[in-house]
Assembly symmetry: C2
Homo-oligomer: 442 residues x 2
Amino acid sequence: MSRLVVIGGVAAGMSAAAKAKRTNPDLEVVAYERTHFVSYGACGLPYFVAGEVPRVEDLVARTPEQFKKQGILALPRHEVVEVDYPNRTLTVRALDEGRTFTDRFDHLVVATGARPVVPDLPGVGLAGVFTLRVPEDGVAVREWAARARRAAIVGAGYVGLEMAEAFRRLGLAVTLIEAEDRVMPMADPEVSDQLAEALAKNGVEVATGTRVTALLGEERVAAVETTAGRVEAELVLISVGIRPNADLAKSFGVALGPTGAIRVDEQQRTNLEDVYAAGDVAESRHLLTNEPYWLPLGDVANKHGRTAGTVIGGGRAAFKGVLGTAITKVFDRTVAMTGLTEQAARKRGLEVGTAAIRSRDRAHYMPGGHPLFVKLVYQAASGRLLGAQIVGHGNDALRIDAVAALIHKGATVEDLRALDLAYAPPFSPVWDPLLVAANQAK
Amino acid sequence: MSRLVVIGGVAAGMSAAAKAKRTNPDLEVVAYERTHFVSYGACGLPYFVAGEVPRVEDLVARTPEQFKKQGILALPRHEVVEVDYPNRTLTVRALDEGRTFTDRFDHLVVATGARPVVPDLPGVGLAGVFTLRVPEDGVAVREWAARARRAAIVGAGYVGLEMAEAFRRLGLAVTLIEAEDRVMPMADPEVSDQLAEALAKNGVEVATGTRVTALLGEERVAAVETTAGRVEAELVLISVGIRPNADLAKSFGVALGPTGAIRVDEQQRTNLEDVYAAGDVAESRHLLTNEPYWLPLGDVANKHGRTAGTVIGGGRAAFKGVLGTAITKVFDRTVAMTGLTEQAARKRGLEVGTAAIRSRDRAHYMPGGHPLFVKLVYQAASGRLLGAQIVGHGNDALRIDAVAALIHKGATVEDLRALDLAYAPPFSPVWDPLLVAANQAK
């Protein structure tokens, strides 16, 4: 019987396992996962820490018992430590039992995810210094936060911003430290500025252009030493980025791409026959630049996994790529983006036009409306849409999906201007903010 | 000096006036409006009746004084009663002064809107029987509702559904009477069923497959006689549809299209030189069927007006057409649609596939989520997207815009499946409901 082994049983891995089994029920499927949980929503960890999600188990989509009913063996606390590719075997350590055993595979999916970058700072090993990546991290941070008064967050990307909100919800004083000159530096400055306002309004101290030089304390962290002075904190969260967990794959000959993640084709195949990669450890293709792009997000991981699983099961599937669409909530603001920012486009030497407008998310006379900011980025010569950024409130920023759809189809600002979008007073001004932006674009 | 006269100073008319003046500041611009208000948001009337919008004046986007500063003369309570096209003159009645005068034009925009259909029923002239179209209607309905206990609504389309919610908010007992076998019969049955649930949950009596035979009462309405019995009501709202106000235009030779609205080209020109039509009185082209289509909505009216104004001012503009995108709120449910429903597509003899799914509007573990229903309609052979319907909550149904964008670009279900949509736990399950539907489509 043909045997599929999945290394890493979270989003991509379990998607691959489930889809492969559904596509070919004769397949033997086993998934090894290092942590205590399989099939969990890591993106939900900030909401677990904040207490919005009561139990860490709530993040789990399907348990090993549920996978078992589907004929899939999902084993948490099992770490694959070595792969002997020529012999199609691997060495697995059962972490709770301390024993090591060998397994064999016909198909292998590498879905080992990513790990947080931890800068080599003095004091980084002190108790109370955390990263947030796996459920165990979430549990530890939540426990620690319950006894802390002041939190410092190093890095103001998605996780840093979400965690600023989480810690404020828990009543902690929060200082957000960012080396770049603004929060969410992957967005354009107008977006960063609006987020900075939201952070200030919600009592988050923001220190941009500030580098951490050391973490201070005896055993437990007590303060962060920065280029702009000392920040007292009993809890420090480091969220300066993540890197693909590609070492194991590399060790048995899997080729990485220029991003440092595993290079795959549209079927998620690696350079090695019968070996697939999916999720945060694998690259995608950027649909605008046609270059390898690393977008370690949960929805992309699921698509990778589904594609690999379909192909392994004998079906047809292709994952074409990504636009970098993303959304996040920062207190009462929602930030969404797709495609290229202005700064990213200019960095690539593209001649771009932009249109940035401030509108509302409902008719002027409807109570309860919110400001809605839209920025479009497009090729100056052709008007071809390259990207959009929205700062809104709640689901009103889901408008980003309409722009993503247009970019997918190579559409122009002119196309956007001609869109027949949904209008009613509770949902939009009579001119949808996307159309206002498109009308402003030259 | 070149003179533009606009007949009807609401959405389309005032958009045309304002855009023409901006495009060519030398233009003389005058707009005649029959009601007491220019430039008002008629779509907001249900929210005014409900009390969510405090004053009817709040619906006004710009007052005559504001237009005056822009160099535009906007005259409410002025009705154009005759147009002498060969001589480029028109007769205007100043309703508050009782006098009639003559004006001249070089360019004419007919933006006379639409009027409610009032069936020829016994008792239809009784006090307490209303339609809802202009601000004066809203004021009258709100006043009457304050002294009524029971309302009957005849017609369960957009206005009927919105008014059911408005009357319930005001504490009235509400019976919604619909001749077709379900509410919102322009949607597919799955959508109607979900709305019927929402109506029932919110205490609205729904009588479908029921025709009104008479309105009963002495002077004031007291009850509605129907094929299913008698409904007691001190207030009756008739919302069985609207018709274009095309009589004036027809009287001086403007050609109508097959929909009964004025036929226009992409520059909103009618068959008569120098005469344009815009808004609810004018047709659009349906982008999927390429046939004339009448979509009397505020956002379309604004686009018509802007296009006509640009062209009259000497600029370039084209209004390409509509997809029938629409959205409405019915209590805590939002209904959105674009393109063709299954029933509309089948009526046209198209071989269609459909995919209908029930998902959620956020990750399973996030509190406060709501069900989200998506139905896709596509050409069976090619997979080309024809339409979508969403029943959701709040802005989560704005996802319809992404489907509208795809349909605009002639995209297929396969394209939708490949979309990189915005995902984060507060905004979507890891598989966006649109993708779930696309994955289910064959």
